[in-house]
């Protein structure tokens, strides 16, 4: 169960990603949530337990705040003039869903490397015969979420 302060930190993280397309520093999160930077790592640990964040080994750099990626990936999403990176194909559509905004998704076919450009409107993506494939069953998604 997350406290009100934990929720404030979570929202500060997500709003930073949404506004800038990049991961926030602990200082930026603390300022956004109105809390002290010294407690951010402990809050991040609780958010990781709730499968809200995925952290780098240092415990205070955000690798994933799904659908946003804290590091560059092959899944690029452009919305409202901001460029975002998504963790996976699912999250590439998750970013316009989270933002409630039209977007352009740029990715690729993992086999042929053919580029994908997909326009997403307020009600979803344009018609497309591309496919999504996940190699890991739902039961194991969070066993290694970076691999998934």
């Amino acid at each position: 169960m997350l406290s009100d302060a934990d929720v404030a930190v979570k929202l500060a993280v997500y709003r930073h990603f949404a506004g800038t397309g990049r991961r926030p520093t602990p200082d930026e999160v603390a300022a956004g949530a109105g809390v002290r930077t010294a407690g951010i790592a402990e809050t991040y640990r609780r958010l990781r337990e709730q499968k809200v964040l995925v952290l780098e080994d240092d415990g205070c750099s955000i690798r994933m705040a799904p659908p946003f990626s804290g590091v560059p990936t092959q899944h690029e999403v452009i919305a409202n003039g901001v460029t975002y990176h998504a963790n996976c194909a699912w999250d590439a559509l998750g970013i316009p869903a989270a933002l409630h905004s039209s977007a352009t998704v740029r990715s690729r076919c993992e086999q042929s490397m053919e580029p994908l450009r997909l326009e997403v409107g307020p009600d979803g993506p344009e018609r497309s015969d591309w496919l999504f494939h996940c190699a890991v069953p739902a039961f194991r998604w969070w066993a290694d979420i970076v691999f998934t």
Binding site: V7, A18, Q50, N87, A97, A98, C109, E110, Q111, H133
Partner: protein, 75 residues
């Protein structure tokens, strides 16, 4: 969780990676998943779906079978 241009390409990738072919998901179904998971993500009420809710979401999109069971490993 990857995009592919065609089923043929998925099959070729699975052979190359020595990984089983899993259910193929259309882009409109993927949007349903993305919307269900993330449309409230920037709001205070946001939370992950429970296993029961996940089953309902998957079934509503026509995604059924052991692969989509969040509580049992099909392998």
């Amino acid at each position: 969780m990857l995009f592919f241009r065609s089923e043929e390409n998925v099959r070729a990738w699975c052979r190359a990676e020595a990984t089983p072919l899993r259910p193929l998901v259309r882009i409109d179904q993927l949007w349903g998943l993305a919307h269900a998971w993330y449309s409230t993500r920037l709001q205070p009420i946001a939370r992950r779906p429970s296993p029961a809710e996940m089953r309902t979401i998957f079934a509503g999109l026509g995604l059924t079978g052991p692969f989509w069971d969040p509580e049992h490993d099909p392998d």
